[in-house]
């Protein structure tokens, strides 16, 4: 995983059947994202941001064209191989946090490590590190219900980052947060991007988020209409 280009799409098309016709969500998207980027997919609702995240995250396959993520061709991966790619190399951050309510903060963060088969000692150490990155060491034994929205999203970031993935995909991560918490979350991710060289790819239409992006890829009707690096 030393190659600079982390993500490469070539003539990516994603179409869905809608009733008796076809809805094309992504039209010939050609994109290259390098390791360590802090980039955002922006655009109005229905522009194809989430669909592109889905395909890059190996949750979906392209209708035509190709997508290579960390040297893996998404279109040829089996379900199991795709799951393995996500498990090993990709972290996800959702708008609604999606923490497991019956587990503590530490256990939520620990969960991806269980899937990786890490030893108990390794897990403990990695969870401590992840909680330290997001400033929640003192909340390790709390349940998600005891946390604020901002804290919950920081736990979600720790969960996504704990396995030190090469790529983190975040879909509207600040949509449920107030301005103060949004900035704090973005600062945290910016710091992790710098310290761990993790690539972050956001889907957002939030101006606050866009301020932090070092590269903004604008989508409209499934096409890349602008790609600018700050």
């Amino acid at each position: 995983m030393t190659e600079a280009k982390l993500i490469h799409t070539h003539d990516l098309v994603k179409a869905y059947p809608v009733a008796d016709r076809e809805f094309v969500a992504l039209k010939n998207v050609n994109l290259e994202i390098e390791r360590g980027e802090f980039a955002g997919l922006v655009g109005p609702s229905g522009s194809g941001k989430t669909t592109l995240l889905n395909v890059i995250g190996s949750l979906d396959i392209p209708t035509s064209g190709s997508v290579t993520v960390l040297d893996s061709k998404i279109e040829v991966l089996s379900h199991k191989q795709a799951a393995n790619l996500r498990n090993l190399h990709i972290g996800f951050i959702f708008q609604t946090y999606n923490l497991l309510p019956v587990y503590t903060v530490a256990e939520n963060v620990e969960f991806p490590l269980l899937l990786l088969g890490k030893s108990s000692d390794e897990r403990r150490s990695m969870v401590e590190d992840a909680l330290e990155w997001v400033g929640l060491t003192d909340k390790a034994e709390m349940r998600p219900a005891q946390l604020s929205g901002g804290e919950s999203q920081r736990v979600a970031i720790a969960r996504a980052m704990v396995k030190k993935p090469a790529l983190v995909l975040a879909d509207e991560p600040t949509a449920n947060l107030d301005a103060k918490n949004s900035h704090r979350i973005l600062e945290t991710m910016e710091k992790l991007n710098a310290e761990l060289d993790t690539t972050f790819l956001f889907a957002t239409h939030d101006e606050k988020v866009m301020q932090y992006m070092k590269r903004i890829i604008s989508l409209e009707d499934g096409e890349v209409v602008k790609d600018e690096t700050k």
């Binding site: 979906d60 199991k80 799951a83 996500r86 708008q95 497991l100 269980l114």
Partner: protein, 428 residues
């Protein structure tokens, strides 16, 4: 991972409480049933053998064919000689002659004139020989309500119902009119030594009397004979295999084919409907396990579907972050097995506790009128369970299988989940 799942089960009561309760109740009932059968069947076999069938029953071939008519003329007239042979051949058994016969009992007034007459059904056995087990096997010793046990060949004990109905007191003399094995009429005076209440309808019915075998032989003119010889294992533990050895020997060495007066032997389970009942009892644990597997499977299947809906987000998240569908499915099965194990351990503990109570205190069902099935099968008045080894493991059959099957079926939905929809699903 198992610890992670177990923590989830223990903390999320809505996930675990209902399935655990279902397994707990199902398992407890299964264990209770196993303990009930384990206790009642041996008691039922013991009681029916003592009262009626013996562990091995020997009659003449002709008597057995017409046994419902109790034909005295087909009695074994050399019963005592056969008993000597059998005692010699099978030292681990004891052999008892019994005779059933009917007659008319004449009850006199104070002047010796007939005051009343009633038909009676008599059971004759060795009631007066010191050390005879018959007083216990026929439950007479424990059932005497008034008077005493017989001490003379011409003493009888009668049912309390009969004594009440005819105003008979202890020490009263009555005359039994019957026919001998040769068909001639016979009269004999008997003294009422005692009255009995068995708590078993068939034995307490109005016309039941119990006489000593020697007195009956004199009345029936069947010296040394009897209608039946009952063999009992001295340890009082019946098994079909042991009894088969005995009946095979008798039927090979004493029976003459085609001779209606020659003896023929039957095992306990070959008399009346015992064989079917014993087979049923043997299969009962499997039947009850099967029934509870089916019931709990349906309940837990539905519960699993509901849980799948409730945990839709959790499962979606797990798929999104890279857990393979097969792994999620297997973890559901492991979770179901853990739930089954917890429920089974708790249910087994409760079931064994109830069986223990049933074993120690019993349940008196004499008032329910179900202790006699009317076909020679007797249930004890007080049913008692028994904590048998099966009580400790039988619950694990339905307790583990049912939740596993429930999760196996309900969890298939995981494979229908479209990962492409996860972002949308997880953000609503």
């Amino acid at each position: 991972m198992i610890k992670f799942l177990l923590d989830g089960i223990l903390r999320d009561r809505s996930r675990s409480l209902f399935p655990v309760l279902t397994v707990f109740i199902g398992t407890a009932i299964t264990v209770l049933m196993a303990g009930y059968i384990g206790g009642v069947m041996p008691d039922m076999i013991r009681m029916s053998a003592h009262l009626d069938a013996g562990h091995v029953k020997v009659t003449s071939q002709g008597y057995f064919e017409d046994r419902t008519q109790m034909p005295l003329d087909m009695a074994l007239d050399d019963a005592e000689e056969i008993i000597v042979q059998l005692e010699d051949q099978f030292p681990d058994m004891m052999w008892k002659a019994r005779t059933r016969f009917g007659g008319l009992l004449d009850i006199p007034d104070e002047n010796g004139e007939t005051r009343a007459q009633t038909t009676v059904s008599a059971q004759a056995a060795d009631l007066i020989t010191p050390g005879s087990t018959e007083l216990d096997y026929l439950k007479i010793r424990s059932s005497v309500r008034n008077g005493s046990l017989p001490t003379d060949p011409f003493d009888i004990v009668i049912s309390e119902n009969m004594a009440d109905a005819y105003g008979l007191d202890i020490g009263d003399m009555v005359t039994l009119m019957t026919s001998t094995i040769n068909g001639s009429m016979s009269f004999q005076n008997f003294r009422v030594a005692g009255t009995v209440v068995f708590g078993v309808a068939a034995l307490d019915k109005g016309g039941a009397i119990f006489a000593d075998i020697e007195g009956a032989r004199m009345v029936l003119n069947m010296n040394g004979g009897s209608t039946e010889i009952l063999g009992f294992f001295k340890d009082d533990e019946y098994t079909g295999e042991r009894a088969q050895i005995v009946t095979d020997w008798i039927n090979t060495n004493l029976s003459v084919e085609g001779d209606p007066y020659s003896p023929i032997a039957f095992r306990f389970e070959d008399v009346n409907e015992f064989a079917a009942m014993m087979q049923w009892a043997g299969a009962f644990i499997f039947i009850i396990s099967g029934v509870f597997i089916a019931i709990m499977f349906i309940v837990l299947w539905n519960s699993g579907l509901m849980n799948g809906l409730r945990r839709y987000g959790e499962i979606g998240l797990r798929l999104a972050i890279g857990e393979a569908k097969g792994h999620v499915y297997r973890s559901m099965l492991v979770e179901a097995t853990l739930i089954g194990t917890i429920g089974t351990i708790l249910g087994t503990a409760l079931g064994v506790f109830f069986v223990y109570l049933l074993q120690e205190y019993g349940l008196d069902i004499s008032g329910m009128g179900v202790t006699d099935t009317g076909n020679g099968i007797y249930y004890p008045d007080v049913i008692r369970g028994k904590v048998i080894p099966a009580c400790f493991y039988v619950g694990f059959i339905p307790g583990i299988i049912a939740p596993f099957l429930g999760a196996l079926v309900s969890g298939r939905g995981i494979y229908k989940r479209q990962t492409a929809s996860l972002f949308k699903e997880l953000e609503t």
